[in-house]
């Protein structure tokens, strides 16, 4: 049943239409002669206020508005992986084939291709009882991923028919399920309204770390599968690079990358690199595990608002198959600003800094959709959605509403810092202000992987970094030469940790990914060096002499040693450290405490 009204007012992305009595809140409507896609966001008797997902230029009062009777939904099924969509799941590559290099409005293409067949293998039989989340069959979606065709939420009963092995399009019925009252036809193609979380059986605590190959993250501020992290920072601090690194290297099964109101070239960069890059876990093309949502800053602002929901719904869908999914949203601030822009056009009462009063609850609801879950279905299966959101605070000032409201809900903060970025210390994650509520929980995982001293080492090195920051305040006032030797050693060691461990170049072919094993060995060498240095200083050697050791340069270059070669390097450096300090203490007995300043 569709209702048709007429456009009464147009102001940017917001259009009001009258004559829509009976239309429902959040229903999708088609606006104007070009049938642009919009969504009802306010209803007032027969007047509906609509946010329009396409450019409204040229629309005039009097043009028709028709309801579709459906809330904004995504199409779910095989064919999502490897695709790039806009914020309302229009496949950008297909749109390009149809209308050229520029996105003209009024073009529509379904999220999943109808003309493609998928090889379906059933796993249930006629007469089986099935409920929501149960698997009906599988499809090989990409080389590595088995797509599990599930009974949709709300459907329960006995299998009356199930498709045999064969090739089907997403629209063909692959199973029929009979309950007491009716017959449900199940297709591979299913719909889900984006603003509504997909149901699960139970929430669980995260248990495994999400390993990213980024040292400062994995070692100092770890994230877990099913966890949440915020990545705030001023422009140019490295949010996008971190998000790309995570998308490339985290040990999740599926990646959903949402480029929300950011640069077109960044999406082009992903599209250029990912197909050629290899998933470190499976060895297959990265694009095979990735769904991209790209609603760049110059694309319509309402579709930007929708893009994070489109992304998280797709993430939940793969979670329901039992996969570990990681979603990167770059940047959630642009999403919040889209909310603000639309709210302003709706003439809603503004809250802090013009953001709508519901900003905090929208952010919380979004991050709540992350988690490790027991998914629907009669067998106990778990899946997870991890969410990492960039935040772009105006002027780099974290006291603003989006950052603050995000920090209230996430468990990990990777705080990017302009000063570090300016010095080209990347990733510019400030180790003093960042935190991870998961640090205590991932210890066991490391212990099982031949990293028994992980917790102790990281605490010791973090202690050095914290001590350094206090000492630097003193140095700023009175200079370094008033410090006792052991404090000066702290400064030497802290520099070494920065240069030899924290700094990690995303663009260096080796350094871009550091295995957990290498991270631990590097950490161990740093600790070993420090402990020996402390002994030497206690024995009267100067911190400057320690700082001048040749083996220190070797430690600083550890990042460039390939992961596979590192165990050998470890053995060599370990030996060199021992020799160097033996030499130092011997030298000291020969020359006394000479080296200084």
């Amino acid at each position: 049943m569709t209702i048709t009204g007429t456009v009464a007012r147009i102001s940017g992305a917001v259009v009001s239409a009258r004559g829509l009595a009976g239309a429902r809140m959040y229903d999708v409507v088609r606006v104007g002669n070009d049938r642009l896609v919009g969504e009802i966001v306010v209803l007032d008797r027969d007047v509906a206020t609509i946010q329009v997902y396409e450019d409204t230029e040229g629309i005039a009062p009097g043009e028709p508005v028709t309801t579709t009777g459906m809330p904004l939904s995504v199409e779910l099924g095989p064919g999502l992986l490897g695709t790039i969509y806009d914020g309302i799941q229009r496949p950008l590559e297909i749109i390009r084939d149809e209308t050229g290099d520029f996105i003209v409005r009024g073009v529509h293409a379904p999220g999943l291709r109808r003309d493609r067949g998928w090889d379906f293998t059933p796993i249930v039989r006629r007469g089986d009882r099935v409920g929501p989340g149960d698997r009906l069959g599988t499809v090989v979606e990409t080389e590595v991923h088995e797509h599990r065709v599930m009974v949709p939420p709300g459907v329960q009963g006995r299998i009356e028919e199930i498709a045999s092995v064969g090739r089907y399009s997403v629209e063909e019925v692959v199973a029929t399920v009979r309950d007491d009252t009716r017959l449900h036809r199940v297709r591979m193609l299913q719909y889900w309204p984006v603003r509504q979380p997909r149901p699960v059986r139970m929430r669980l605590e995260p248990i495994d770390p999400l390993i990213s190959g980024q040292r400062v993250i994995d070692t100092f501020f770890p994230l877990m599968k099913g966890g949440t992290a915020a990545l705030p920072g001023p422009f140019g601090a490295g949010k996008t690079v971190v998000q790309h690194q995570l998308a490339k290297y985290v040990n999740a099964d599926i990646i959903v990358y949402v480029g929300c109101g950011e640069r077109g070239n960044e999406m082009a960069d992903v599209l250029r690199q990912f197909p050629a890059l290899v998933d470190p876990t499976t060895g297959k093309s990265l694009m095979d595990r990735t769904v991209l949502i790209g609603n760049t800053s110059n694309m319509p602002v309402a579709a930007r608002e929708a893009s994070v929901y489109t992304g998280i719904t797709i993430a939940e869908y793969y979670r329901d198959m039992g996969y570990d999914v990681a979603l990167m949203a770059d940047s959630t601030s642009r999403w919040a600003e889209a909310m603000r822009e639309i709210s302003g056009r709706l003439e809603e009462m503004p809250g802090e800094q013009g953001y709508p009063a519901y900003l905090a609850s929208r952010l919380a609801d979004f991050y709540e959709r992350a988690g490790r879950m027991t998914v629907l279905g009669s067998t106990d299966r778990t899946g997870s959605v991890t969410v990492i959101g960039s935040v772009s605070p105006p002027g780099g000032d974290f006291s603003e509403p989006v950052t603050q409201n995000t920090l209230r809900v996430v468990k990990v903060l990777w705080a990017l810092d302009a000063d570090l970025a300016h010095e080209r210390h990347f990733p510019a994650i400030n180790w003093l202000t960042s935190y991870s509520a998961y640090a205590g929980r991932v210890q066991g995982w490391w212990a099982e992987r031949a990293a028994p001293m992980w917790e102790e080492y990281r605490a010791e090195m973090m202690g050095v970094l914290q001590a350094e920051s206090e000492l630097l305040e003193t140095v700023q006032l009175v200079g370094e030469d008033v410090l006792p030797e052991e404090d000066r050693l702290v400064l030497v060691q802290a520099r070494l940790i920065r240069d030899g461990f924290l700094i990690q170049s995303a663009f260096h072919p080796v350094d871009t990914y550091c295995t957990a094993e290498k991270q631990y060995l590097m950490l161990e060498l740093l600790v070993r060096f420090y402990r020996q240095a402390r002994e030497a200083v206690d024995a009267g050697v100067s911190a400057a002499a320690v700082g001048g050791l040749a083996v220190k340069s070797r430690l600083e270059r550890m990042p460039f040693v390939p992961n596979e070669a590192f165990p050998d390097e470890y053995a060599r450096v370990e030996r060199e450290i021992a020799e160097a300090f033996a030499g130092l203490t011997a030298g000291r007995s020969a020359y006394g405490v000479t080296t200084r300043g």
Binding site: G294, G395, R424, E480, S505, A544, S553
Partner: protein, 472 residues
């Protein structure tokens, strides 16, 4: 607000009304209008007979809010007439625009021959489909070490200059326009120059400069000067970029777009927002300024399978040298890096006065290295940054505690920072250094430091390039 028949007369295909009911700042409200399209172009005729162009900012069933580009001076609510054209805003594009000087709306002001458009293009443009973008990787040799060595510009990039009043951003932009080349290609860039609210003197500087170097023949110049209507400058960048897109993606030119001064553009935006009584965002700028600016800056780039490119160098003077001000802040969040000017360096007499620490080129990575510039480029850049940052930090420290308290190595870094500014950063305005010259100069400076300090550079590269080795 009821429509009376006398308010309305049909004329041609447009609809004409005499029903201006309200004038506020640059906006007029026209009532009794039927079906004005959002974004529709209107022609406003004030009592004196002068005509101005406007655009519908909001349309309701019986009223339209119109922004008047020529300003609302002399508009009245009795005899001013408003004609709705039924069109959205377009500009005629043709290759013949090269060599021409136009006003901020695209009208020729150079007395040249009549322009016959090849096509009419909507000035707001459509977004480039992200999947159609070709990732920019051809590095541009500007001949300026601070840019080429440290923040390489790439064809298809948008890289603004963050300047301040009285700093030589115009000279630098003109130098880039004059010198920029892609390696191995003889052809230079065509320039689309859009001035918004700049002084006569500055506009003249560019035009003279283009003329003297012969660049004007390959340039399209749009000038909205400080004394031109403020609201007009809201369309200047859109008009200029529409022409640039035509030159680049239809005709295959490599176009360098210089937009100056984006701060004036943003102020015009603020003025309209205030007149509409919108909820103001930071410092009174509208909340949608990010989206608005993105609509300009994202019109840079390359497209797969097409010859040309658009490289943008927007210039903005930062009010009060405060980089957290919304104009530079939002710009930095959209562009692919920034070149930041420093008043300190300028005072020290260093040209170009580029503050390298906050400067950044995000597309540098893909444009440098073996086969593009030189294999050591990335590592040398990282090392220079690390060393210069350390020297700068020590400089602050020394100001407090004196140089005596520094160790030997620290003193080297201090000296390094000074020489780096004098010999690498500073360069005559007419000097054009090749990538090799820039990198060689970098190695000469790096050789002030012992090899053991060069931890950002792999030993094999040190072996090959470190001067003490290669000479000795």
């Amino acid at each position: 607000m009821d429509e009376t028949p006398s308010d309305r007369k049909q004329q041609g295909k447009g609809r004409e009304y005499l029903s201006v009911t309200r004038v506020t700042g640059p906006l007029i409200v026209v009532s009794g209008v039927e079906g004005a399209a959002y974004g529709e172009v209107v022609e406003v005729t004030v009592p004196s007979g002068e005509r101005r162009t406007g655009r519908v900012l909001e349309s309701r069933e019986d009223t339209a809010i119109v922004q008047v580009f020529g300003g609302t001076e002399a508009v009245d609510t009795v005899s001013t007439s408003v004609r709705f054209t039924g069109e959205t805003m377009k500009i005629g594009v043709t290759e013949d625009l090269l060599g021409r000087i136009l006003d901020g709306t695209g009208e020729p002001i150079d007395g040249g021959p009549l322009l016959i458009p090849d096509a009419m293009r909507d000035i707001s443009g459509d977004p480039i489909n992200p999947s159609a973008r070709d990732f920019p990787r051809d590095s541009i040799e500007t001949g300026i070490s601070a840019i080429d060595g440290m923040n390489t510009l790439v064809r298809g990039q948008k890289l603004p200059i963050f300047s301040g009043s009285g700093l030589p951003h115009a000279r630098l932009a003109a130098q880039i326009a004059r010198q920029a080349r892609v390696r191995g290609e003889a052809e230079s860039f065509s320039v689309v120059f859009a001035a918004m609210g700049i002084t006569y003197e500055e506009a003249d500087f560019f035009i003279r400069n283009f003329r003297e170097t012969g660049a004007l023949e390959q340039a399209v110049v749009f000038v909205n000067r400080a004394d031109d209507p403020v609201i007009e400058r809201l369309i200047t960048p859109q008009v200029a970029l529409t022409v640039a897109e035509y030159l680049a993606f239809d005709l295959g030119y490599h176009v360098l777009v210089i937009l100056t001064d984006m701060t004036n553009y943003c102020e015009a935006l603020r003025e309209v927002a205030a007149a509409r009584e919108e909820v103001p965002g930071r410092r009174g700028y509208p909340g949608y300024m990010y989206t608005d600016l993105a609509g300009i800056y994202e019109r840079a780039g390359r497209i797969k399978g097409r010859e040309g490119s658009i490289t943008q160098i927007p210039i903005l003077t930062i009010p009060n040298d405060d980089i957290t001000h919304p104009v530079p802040d939002l710009t930095g969040y959209i562009t692919e890096g920034q070149i930041v000017f420093s008043r300190d360096l300028h005072r020290k007499g260093i040209y170009p006065p580029i503050d390298l620490l906050p400067s950044l080129s995000r597309l540098m990575q893909g444009g440098i290295g073996e086969g593009r510039t030189r294999e050591d480029h990335a590592a040398v850049k990282d090392q220079l940054y690390a060393a210069y940052a350390r020297g700068r930090r020590l400089r602050n420290l020394v100001a407090v505690v004196g140089e005596e308290s520094l160790g030997e190595i620290d003193r080297l870094y201090l000296a390094f920072a000074d020489r780096f500014e004098r010999e690498f950063l500073r360069q005559p305005e007419n000097e054009r250094r090749s990538f090799e010259e820039t990198l060689d100069a970098a190695w000469r400076l790096l050789s002030m430091l012992p090899e053991s300090e060069l931890v950002r550079i792999e030993p094999s590269l040190i072996e090959r390039y470190y001067p003490r080795r290669t000479e000795g």
